[in-house]
């Protein structure tokens, strides 16, 4: 049955159908509709909606529920996302799968609560301290809010990693008529089929689709945020630290090729637009406008999964591009990643908007038609001719 839904509602419905039964959160614009939906629906399904004292408490409470075996989720926006960073690090270190929805608004600080932004792209990648893998998905429509939430639940369970769903105010509040599937498939871990003496919580070296024990099942699980051995107990041994860190890194590195999620069209064209989230809506319209106006086609690549950035894939997809346009509702956060995927003589044009408004198709069309030098200026060889270490007697 077709329904008129907002992106936030579609996200919550996707989570429920994928088996999420626990939500811990704190009200924040523009993500509140997700919390409200869960508060209404979860008790009907025997699940829990709990409103915590802050976002730090929310993510830690969610980690607790995940450790006890539930599929759990939280939703927030910029300021709350900042508070959640230490808890995201804990989810990664203790390998607790969970979903963190960030319906992006303008920042920094309180910023623009009711306006849209894609300013948390880099925070999603590097927000929590230390080297860590991260997965972030970025929907562009109401239907995709549903689909990518289901994908997020599936991927997080398979890899035992938190997955960040980067929505933005436009996608979260936009309403579209959609027909959502009643049943969805997600992978579900089973209990370890071995006695507790032979069970090691971090013992599965394949690191993928692992059988896993939760609290209260008699396996005496030990979870810690410290670097740990395969039995979960803390250690300071350099060899084990390396093993632990490599194990985390491999979760994304070994699975990147099937994780990467993007769509593309007309890549034979001279100009290619690389985009994600709600800016991709403006970009698609810009592509059509430009083609109608000039008769020349424009390529487009839309990333559904923004982290890990599909580096090798982008290198091959952008091989014949002579110039690349990156429209974003921020000060050019994906731009640098795209520059690394093309040769230095291909200009990468960042189309930015950070006034809370959506990018218009016209702004992107202007960028497509704009004259730019064919090569990016390279840094001069000697940037500080007046200074050299050898000249300075102090050294």
């Amino acid at each position: 049955m077709p329904q008129l839904l907002s992106g936030n509602e579609a996200c919550a419905i996707g989570a429920l159908r994928a088996g999420v039964r626990f939500f811990a959160g704190y009200p924040i614009t523009p993500s509140t509709e997700i919390a409200e939906y869960f508060a209404r629906e979860l008790p009907r399904l025997g699940g829990t909606y709990i409103q915590m004292e802050d976002e730090i408490g929310s993510i830690c409470c969610m980690n607790g529920a995940t450790a006890a075996g539930l599929k759990a989720m939280t939703a927030t926006s910029g300021p709350g996302f900042s508070l959640m960073q230490e808890g995201i690090g804990y989810s990664i270190m203790a390998e607790l799968p969970c979903i963190i929805v960030n319906v992006m608004r303008g920042g920094p600080a309180t910023g623009t609560p009711t306006r849209s932004s894609q300013g948390d792209l880099m925070q999603a990648r590097h927000g929590t301290h230390g080297d860590h893998p991260i997965i972030a998905l970025c929907p562009w429509s109401v239907r995709e809010c549903f689909d990518l939430t289901v994908e997020a639940v599936d991927v997080s369970e398979r890899l035992r990693l938190p997955v960040i769903l980067l929505m933005d105010e436009v996608v979260g509040h936009m309403r579209e008529t959609v027909e959502l599937p009643l049943r969805v498939e997600t992978w579900k871990p089973s209990n370890p089929r071995r006695p507790k003496e032979e069970y090691f919580h971090y013992g599965d070296e394949t690191n993928y689709d692992s059988d896993i024990a939760s609290f209260g099942e008699g396996f005496r699980v030990h979870l810690t945020g410290l670097v740990h051995r395969k039995d979960g107990l803390p250690t300071n041994d350099p060899e084990t630290i390396r093993w632990n860190m490599d194990r985390l890194r491999r979760k994304v590195d070994d699975n990147a090729s099937w994780l990467w999620d993007l769509t593309y069209e007309d890549l034979g064209a001279e100009t290619v637009i690389v985009c994600y989230g709600s800016s991709a809506r403006s970009a698609t319209e810009a592509k059509n406008l430009y083609q109608r106006k000039t008769g020349r086609s424009v390529g487009i690549i839309r990333l559904r999964m923004v982290w890990p950035f599909p580096q090798q894939r982008m290198v091959s997809l952008l091989r014949s591009a002579r110039r690349v346009i990156v429209p974003e509702m921020n000060m050019g956060q994906m731009n640098r990643s795209v520059e690394r995927a093309v040769s230095p003589d291909v200009p990468v044009i960042s189309v930015q908007r950070y006034d809370g408004e959506m990018l218009t198709p016209g702004e992107i069309v202007d960028a497509i038609g704009r004259e730019v030098p064919s090569a990016r200026p390279l840094p001069e060889e000697d940037l500080h001719p007046g200074f050299s270490i050898a000249d300075d007697e102090e050294f």
């Binding site: 626990f22 811990a24 209404r40 008790p43 009907r44 025997g46 829990t48 709990i50 915590m52 004292e53 802050d54 730090i56 408490g57 929310s58 830690c60 409470c61 969610m62 980690n63 607790g64 529920a65 995940t66 450790a67 006890a68 075996g69 539930l70 759990a72 230490e86 808890g87 804990y90 939760s214 609290f215 209260g216 008699g218 396996f219 005496r220 699980v221 030990h222 979870l223 810690t224 945020g225 410290l226 107990l233 803390p234």
Partner: protein, 282 residues
């Protein structure tokens, strides 16, 4: 050596620890945390709370390393976040006994807000706060329970802040059961712990404990034995004071607050589920 202990009550007690290369533990000689840990384990054993019905949750700090020595489900979370993590576990698996074990800095400073709200929510968890009046893991900085004027690594000229009364805070926030004991009064401490574990709802035991390495040295009290003697000579039972909340100089030990039980959050939320399901079928 430990494996050769005779069966019986002692053997049962030792069964609850991870008897591998984890021992000896990281705690300093003379520290009170091990005494409190042993007393907690004895309390659990005597109450017949099995290892598989239990989850011990902690944050960060000396006291918070305790779960790592226990052979049960253990959850060593982030600094100050033991209580929200325990909240999640309890709500997901209400049949488990949830024990939070942590220090004064972990639970009252960085985790203070979570403590207040878990008490208000009446989460059915038992919180053991080991109060050694200092951040010991990081080298003896002043904590929210360091008395005014006392010296600490970050208060070389004396602490100008006022200190918290953990038990008063717990009662004011809505805890069902609040008690205080010390690491000198081990039998008394066990009694308090067992009462707290038996009580349904948010219950708190403050364990006044000695940190001879840092706090004892800063205050020039002396070694662990001297500190225990200080607890012995300066503690008074709650029945012997007029107003336990006004007592400044001595440690008032005993049950300070034991109110009539009200349903814990898990039970209240179950009613929410029933209401939601009834609205559906209506």
């Amino acid at each position: 050596m430990l494996h050769e202990c005779p069966p019986g009550p002692v053997g049962d007690f030792l069964d609850r620890f991870r008897l591998d290369e984890r021992f000896p533990h990281i705690l300093c000689p003379g520290c009170g945390i091990g005494t409190a840990m042993g007393t907690m384990v004895r309390s659990l054993a005597e109450l017949g709370i099995g290892e598989d019905e239990l989850c011990v949750v902690s944050g960060i700090g000396c006291s918070s390393r305790v779960p790592g020595y226990m052979d049960t489900d253990t959850f060593h979370t982030l600094h100050g976040r033991a209580i929200p993590a325990a909240t999640g576990v309890k709500q997901a698996k209400p049949e488990l006994t949830l024990v939070v074990y942590g220090g004064d800095g972990d639970i009252m400073a960085i985790g203070g807000n979570h403590f207040i709200h878990a008490a208000r929510r009446n989460m059915d968890i038992t919180v053991f706060v080991v109060n050694n009046r200092t951040y010991a893991m990081t080298g003896g900085q002043y904590s929210p329970t360091t008395p005014t004027h006392e010296k600490a690594a970050t208060a070389p000229f004396g602490n100008c802040e006022r200190s918290f009364d953990i038990c008063f805070m717990a009662r004011a926030s809505g805890a069902m059961f609040v008690a205080r004991s010390t690491t000198y009064h081990v039998a008394h401490l066990k009694k308090m712990m067992k009462l707290a574990l038996t009580k349904t709802g948010f219950s708190v035991v403050e364990i006044v404990s000695q940190c001879p390495t840092l706090y004892g040295r800063h205050q020039r009290i002396g070694d662990g034995v001297k500190m225990l003697q200080w607890f012995r000579d300066n503690s008074v039972d709650v029945s012997k004071v007029e107003d336990p909340w006004q007592e400044q100089e001595r440690f008032v030990i005993g049950v300070l607050h034991d109110r009539e039980e009200v349903p814990p959050y898990t039970a209240l939320y179950q009613r929410v589920r029933e209401a939601a399901q009834q609205a559906d079928s209506a």
